[in-house]
Symmetry: C2
Subunit: 256 residues, 2 copies
DNA sequence: CGGGAACTTGACGCTTGTCAAGACGTGTGG
DNA sequence: CCACACGTCTTGACAAGCGTCAAGTTCCCG
């Protein structure tokens, strides 16, 4: 709300905590229950960390492929995408991130981020300095377990996407994507019926391993069957159950 | 070499360390440099853990989907595959594991293994009790960082597979698979030219998101171009560079 | 030595990528 | 305020890629 970033508007980072840390801030955060499930109880230790908040403008990256790894970031508001750039210039979308999700820990592998994280609308992040966090982990099992759980949960999530891409036809993938997004929006207090997409058809296709045209055709197919109503990026889900059953998916968009 | 398992031949687990732990054993292990890159220097703390060794027969699982998570396993000898079972009964292969690799930590996410790990030939594993390991992590930053690094590296590896499946044609995927396998075998002291596959065409297809017939056709295509020589599961790579260049891959099987 | 699993190869058709044209919506500058 | 341009989305036609089905071969294991 308050920390403005005048410099560093054009290039990625640097999100130095400096004077901008906000101790005690998490207690008031609307998405705290998503990013801090276990810490929130033991609480106060975490508040000592120098957490920097920052606004990120649409299209701006908080870190890029190859950047050194210093921070993990909690999405406070807005939407992000993680991408890796393949030779030929094509972008492979790895994930879309909603408020409350933690991103950037993939840099743990070798000290450098293997992906780029960019805002898809004007957004806000909290930057958690990893090396301070790691010191807390030394003393607090809860913190350590939470970090482990974060990474592993992401591993399992991406596996389910991989299964989806490897074993199902494109229409089913798009259905799973929509259902999953709706479910996650609902968990965050938004409507599960009305979805305002933040990404283009091309980005959805990049995520699901297909072309933007196929994404289009899938959406219009759903619309013709009466499952959804599409108007550009505004999507209304009319019949969740029908969509699930028709394509053999759970309400959260997973394979059954 | 010595610990024999008479019971528990039919069902998964249990790999209780009991009397079979082998303190000091790692010092002599041929694959220690692969599974313990950072601990091996600081060393002795790790030796105190109750590490159980066990043989696993071909086809036998060390843990199954849904099993509670107590151990991580280091592959001491042999080959394993990790799979998840989809409804319809189809098996999605997530990874193939070579000696020196650590498996089973995906159970960290929620205390239960989300996948099944089965031996593809008669093999040996070392079972590391996670909760003891976690206590070591409390005191030793090296141990903690190594666990983090293990998981994150796996995350990054699976992402590269996902990109491969999402963006490339089937022939290229098989080429990448072969090159990657050859590279990993070489790291472990085997020949990079002569590969003895432990998996069926169907399992390769399950891993790469295609049918066994397409795997076959890809292999014969490589053979006709003179890049490889195929005789069932014995594969000789005649022209690594040609294979890389033709399909735009690095020598490790990654996308360029 | 026999049976079955794994592999190979071919033919055919569905799915999806590619190319192209047009519609819609938004932002910019006159 | 309008005109224009550009990015995004939609739809169609066509061809290539790959899954499916089927038949036949090789090899391994009992």
């Amino acid at each position: 709300m308050d920390v403005q970033t005048s410099h560093a508007a054009s290039h990625a980072l640097p999100l130095v905590p400096s004077a901008n840390h906000a101790p005690g801030r998490c207690a008031l955060c609307p998405v705290r229950s998503h990013c801090l499930p276990s810490w929130s109880d033991s609480g106060t230790e975490f508040e000592r960390l120098q957490i920097g908040q920052r606004r990120v403008r649409k299209g701006q990256a908080i870190y890029r492929e190859g950047d050194p790894f210093f921070f993990m970031y909690a999405v406070r508001a807005g939407t992000f995408k993680s991408t890796v750039t393949l030779k030929e210039g094509r972008d492979q979308v790895i994930a879309f991130h909603l408020p409350g999700e933690i991103i950037g820990f993939d840099g743990l592998a070798n000290g450098h981020h293997p992906s780029t994280a960019a805002a898809m609308e004007d957004s806000e992040v909290c930057a958690v300095p990893f090396f301070e966090l790691n010191e807390s982990a030394e003393k607090y099992r809860l913190v350590r377990n939470h970090i482990n759980s974060l990474i592993t949960t992401e591993l399992v999530r991406e596996r389910s996407v991989m299964s989806l891409i490897a074993t199902t036809h494109s229409v089913k993938r798009v259905a799973a994507f929509l259902l999953n997004l709706a479910s996650r929006m609902q968990e965050r207090g938004y409507s599960a019926r009305e979805i305002q997409l933040r990404m283009t058809r091309e980005e959805i296709g990049g995520y699901l391993g297909m072309t933007l045209e196929t994404v289009c055709r899938s959406l219009t197919a759903f619309a013709k069957q009466g499952y959804i109503d599409v108007h550009r990026r505004h999507i209304e889900i009319l019949d969740t159950e029908g969509l699930c059953n028709h394509y053999g998916l759970s309400a959260k968009g997973y394979l059954e």
